[in-house]
Structures are given as C-alpha cells and as structure tokens.
Subunit: 201 residues, 4 copies
DNA sequence: CATGAATGAGCTTTCATTCAT
DNA sequence: CATGAATGAAAGCTCATTCAT
C-alpha cells in the first residue's frame, strides 16, 4: 500500500480547510453567485478538479460553511447560560456574540447576507428554520428560568436584539461602541432575581 | 404635438413601473443573479430590447429599486416623530416599520439580503452609508428631544431593535406576534416625560 | 411591430436547417459524444448561443435528426407496397432502401451507429421500439397478403435482410454491387402469385 | 526467483482480465464516452493508477476488447466449414453466430455500436476493413466450394444475412425466435450437392 | 507494484447585451 | 418606439492522465 492512509487523510484535511477559508473570504466579499469556482480554486491555490474531489458542488462548500456558523451560535448560548440573572444572561450573550463576530467576521457577513436569499438557501432552509426554532426555545427557557413573565415574547425581543446588534456591528467597518451599546441594552432587562413586573417603575 | 408627447411620457412611465414591479417579485424570490433579464422582460410582458431602453443595465433596475426602499424608511420616521414620549416614539416607529414591511414585503426581503454583499452594492455603498448615518442622527435627535440621556448610545440600541425586528418579521412566513413583541420592546423605554435614569431597578 | 413575423419565421427555419445539416455531418463522422457543441455551431456558422435558442440541448438536435430518419423508412415501405408478388415487393423494398441510403448516407450511418448505444438513446428508446414493432407488422402483413406461409417468421427474415444490406452498403465507401446483391436476394423469394411451399427444392 | 515471477505474471493476467470484463459491461451499457476511467477502475476493483500500468489509455482497453471480438467471428466460420452443403453451411454459420451472441452479448452490442463511427475506428487503427474483406473471401470460397454459382455475390448476400440477424437478435431483449428464423433463412439456400439454379421456382 | 491526490483542458449550457429591421 | 435573433464570454463541472509516495 502506497502513501500511508494517515498521510492521505492529513493531506485531504489540509486541502479541505484551505478551500473553506478561501470560500469565506470570497463569498463574503463578492457573494456566492459573484464567486466563480475557478476563482475559489485559485484563492485556495489548488486546481478546480481537486476542489470537486472534496466538495460535491459549489453549493456544498457554502453548506459546510453555514453549518460551522451554527456551531458558533450554540457556543454563545452556552457561555451565557452560566449567568444567574436575566441581565447577566443578556450581557453575556451579547458580549459573547460580539466576540464571535470579531473572530469570524467574514463568515458572519456571509451568513447574514444569505438569510434572505431563498433560492441559494433552498437546501439550507429546513435546517435553518429548525435551528432558529431551537434557538428561540433555548432563549425562552433561559428567560423563564430567570423569573421573567411572558418569556415567549421576551425571547423574541431578545432574539431581535441579538440579530440587530449583529447587523449593526457587521455593517460598521470599525469604531462601533459595542461595550456601551451592550450595557445600554442590558440595563433594560431586570437585574435582580426576585419576581417583579417586567419593566415597572 | 404636445398631446402625443404627454401620452408617450405616460406610457413610458407605466412601462418603467411594470419593470420595477416585476423586478421586486423576481429578485426577491430568486435573487438578483438568479433572475435573468429575459425572465424579467417576460414577467413585465415587454421585449428585452425595450427594457434596455428604460434601464441602462440589469444593475440599474436593482439600483432604482433600492432607492425606493430608502424612501420607505424616511416615512416611518416622520410617522413616529409626532409622539411626545420615548416609549410612544418607539412604539410608533416599530408599528410603522411593520406596516411598511407588510406593504412591501418583497422589496424588503430583497433589500435586507443585499445589505451584506459589498460587491453587488459597490455603487450603492456610499449612498447607503450616508443614509444609515443620517437615520442614526435622526434617531439620536428624537431620543434626546424626549429627555433620554446617552441619546447617542440609545439611538444605536433603538436602531438595532428596528433592524432585529425587521429581520425576524421577514424571516417568518406569517404568525409572528408583532403587536406583542412591539409592546414588550416599547415598555423597556421610559414612558414619562420627566428626566430619570433610563431603567434603573 | 418590427421585422415581420414572416421574416422572422423564415430566418429561424433557415438557421434550424443549417444546424441540422451540420449535425448530420459531424455526428456521423465523429459520433455524438465526439462532436462538441462549439464545433457544431462553427460548422453551422452561427454562435453557440443561437443554437440553444433553436434546440433545448445537444441531445435535442440528435432527436430531431433521428425522427427524420424514421420518415425515410416509412417511405420505402410505401414504395414497395405497390408490387403484387413477394419477389417484386422485396426487390422494390431493397432498391428503395439503397436509394434512400444514397440520398442520406450520413444520416443513416449515424442512425445505425446509434442503434446500440443505450444511454445516448435513452429518450429515443421507446419511440424506436414502437417504430421497429410497427415496421415488422407492416412487413408481415405485406408478405401474408402476397401468399407467403409463416409470414411472421419470413417478415423477420426480410427485416434482417434489409438491415444487413444497409449495414454492408454503408460500410463500403463505394463500389458495392448493390444491384447484383439485390437481384440475388430477391430471387430467393417466390416470384409467382399462386400459393406454394415457400422455397421447396 | 522464477516462482515469484510466475506468480506475478499470473496476477497481472488476472487483473488485466478483470479490467476487460469490467470494460465490456460498462462500455456496452453506457458507451465508451459514457464510461469514465474511474468508473472502470472501480468496477474492476483496482486503483486508477494500476489500470494505467496495464493499458496505455482508455482507448487501448477498447482496442483489446474489439480484437477479442474478431476472434469470435473466425471461430463461427470454422464451425460452419464442416458442413458439406450450402444450406448446412448457412445453418451452422447462423446457429453458431447466435450462440456466440448469447455468450458475449455485451461485447457484441458494443462492437456493433462502434461499426459506424469512422473517426473512432480510425483512432483505434482497427484493421476492420481488412478483416471484413478477409471474412467476405472466406464466405465466397466456402460457397463456391459447395457448388454455388455467382459465389461472390452470394457471399455478400450471406454476409448481409449474418449481420442482419445479429442486429435483430441484439436489438431484442429476449424472445427472439432465432431457431425459426434461421430455418427460414437456411431453406432459401440449396440443400443438395448437385449443381442447380439457385432457387428457381 | 500499487495508490489516489492532483492537474487543467475541455465540456455543455446560460445570459447580459446589441442591433438590424 | 419596439422586437427578438444573434453574439460570445464565462459559468459550473467532468475526466483522462500523471506522479509522489
């Protein structure tokens, strides 16, 4: 047997990773349709044919990318779940989200841009819907566990807040006062553990 | 012959409008790249050549569309400006936004999808940035005028809220409890006119 | 309305015909897979794009060709049907077949070459089978009407004879003694009208 | 070490044979162009590289196949040569042909399909014409030796009959009444040894 | 000897745009 | 003004072949 199986596997993994990195860069800058497979291969510094031995199609590359972006989200939720109060939860969630955006800015620009392109996402639609539903439920449970009434509605409010912050943060090239905005957002949520009217004074 | 000239102008205007309406439908369903000029002409029920006598290129059609979506935003702000309190302002702004999304759902799906594709929007980038900046300023002035401290930061919070709600509302095919969510969002903002800490517990 | 509809139709017909003629030439020489669409368009002296406005695909060009070859066969049968004896029928059928091969040599080389390429013919398979079945029946009826016993089997013999002659005639570039071969073939069939044992010595 | 060398040679021969068998199956089902080298190697259960150590190219595999089909033909002629009368010769030839088609149906479907693609055959440098000429001569000598006048022309008739039967038999998936058709074909040829008019009524 | 990762030319097809009529 | 035939560049993808291991 030639070339150990291990060596081959490592070789393949390296190539695959290079393609994915090239894809984030190009897709996020020029869009999915605006990036040709030829350009993708060039950026990854491989031949087009090789790309197709790793991914079934150009769409499959995108799919792999999007899946990895879903993992990101799950992690931010886990981070936040350690906080005992609603306000702590919100603060942690938003802070963790911004950290994640900093780490994978291109991936998230791409992911947000795709949210409303039905055709491109046809094969991603169901997984995405399921994922959004699950995320909403986790938020609802988290808020309910922290004593918030109308947790279902408040979860939607929080979800919108995360998405809105994401959107604004990605839009700005830099200089977005994320820390201040997060603090202002968080103080709208109850900071104590005891039950109270959602927003009273 | 001024009469004929008038008739011609009206006819041209009608044709142009038909193209734009066809474009919203197709672009929002299949994406910009996923819509061929031939399909566009067919949907507008005119010949391809005629389309090119109204618009310089396919991109020009998109540009025209996006510009009209900016007008929408300006109107929602005007609606809200009549409210005296911050909470009233927020409520009116969000309600008006949802109404606008209902009226031009396709246009907004398209517009949101394009937000993060820098290359496609290259020619729209500057106008867009200027527009976003102006919108932020209008929000800031509105909140400051209603006695909110840190109006600059709070304007960003509000902007994110509007965007987040827009995103969520467009994502859902139907059945989004917009009224409840808006109420929950609004009650996080001060409802009285007197100066106070934003939300202190 | 620009360019009369008639002029357009004529234009299209001329182009379509040019494509078909180019296709017979190239497909018969290099095979279906061996002919690229680019080569096809070049031979027809049009742009590739135009070819696709006349035919849905490369395969559709082939289909159109094959259909026209079936018409040929039907005509040879009609020619032969005027003869009262079996031998006259066979003679006329074979003579007419050779004439047809002379007229459309390339088309028939192509058609024969495709007979056994299942994948290429996938969409042609059913029509072809139906056509072969119908042809066999027409031969059987023709022989039975001319007093031949075992007309079903004899029809198969005749069918094979036609196919074999076609094969041999196409194989040879020229100099095939068609007239002599046809005479020798025909005299194996009964020349009188009265009923008799098919061929008894 | 002659033992090892022998074992190696046997192994190589076995591999080569596996490739050829895989090739008949795939080429006959999907055509030569429709079969990829990768698919070929997979069907033969070897690596692509190994295939290329046995055959210079994909075309070389086809060539080897076609050559083996010519051997088949020679054998049918030898079978028939034992018969003393023309009718016996024809019967044996056709019977032997059908037996051969049963044994190597896929190979013959492939071979017949290639008969009319001049460019492909040219590239293969198959001595097809020479082979056909030699076959014709053997038929002519066989018929002449059995007292048939115009043996040259009759040989062409017989050749066409064999080809026609081959064609029809391969076309039908099953249920072709080969025995009956062969009997009907054979009785058109003289069954006695003495000289006589071929078929006079 | 045997493997399969890697290459890149070439395939079919689409589509924005032009222009003769 | 209005048409749609015509163009040809460029897209996504396949595949025969090579070669480091």
């Amino acid at each position: 047997m030639p070339r150990t199986a291990d060596a081959n596997a490592a070789l393949r993994e390296k190539t695959r990773e290079r393609v994915l990195q090239a894809a984030v860069r190009l897709f996020s800058r020029h869009g999915f349709d605006g990036t040709s497979v030829r350009a993708l291969a060039e950026e990854a510094d491989i031949a087009v044919g090789l790309l197709y031995s790793h991914f079934e199609s150009k769409e499959a590359v995108l799919l792999a990318l999007m899946q990895s972006s879903m993992v990101d989200v799950a992690r931010t939720l886990e981070d936040a779940d350690r906080e005992p109060t609603a306000r702590g939860f919100v603060t942690a969630l938003l802070t963790s989200t911004v950290a994640m955006l900093d780490a994978h800015r291109d991936l998230w620009r791409l992911s947000q841009g795709l949210r409303h392109q039905p055709e491109v996402l046809a094969r991603l639609k169901l997984p995405l819907e399921h994922f959004l539903g699950a995320t909403h439920q986790r938020l609802e449970r988290a808020l309910a566990a922290r004593g918030l009434p109308e947790a279902g509605i408040e979860a939607r409010v929080l979800f919108a807040t995360v998405e809105g912050l994401t959107q604004q943060y990605l839009q700005q090239e830099g200089g977005y006062p994320a820390a201040d905005v997060i603090r202002a957002m968080a103080r709208k949520w109850p900071g104590a553990l005891r039950k109270r009217k959602a927003d009273a004074p």
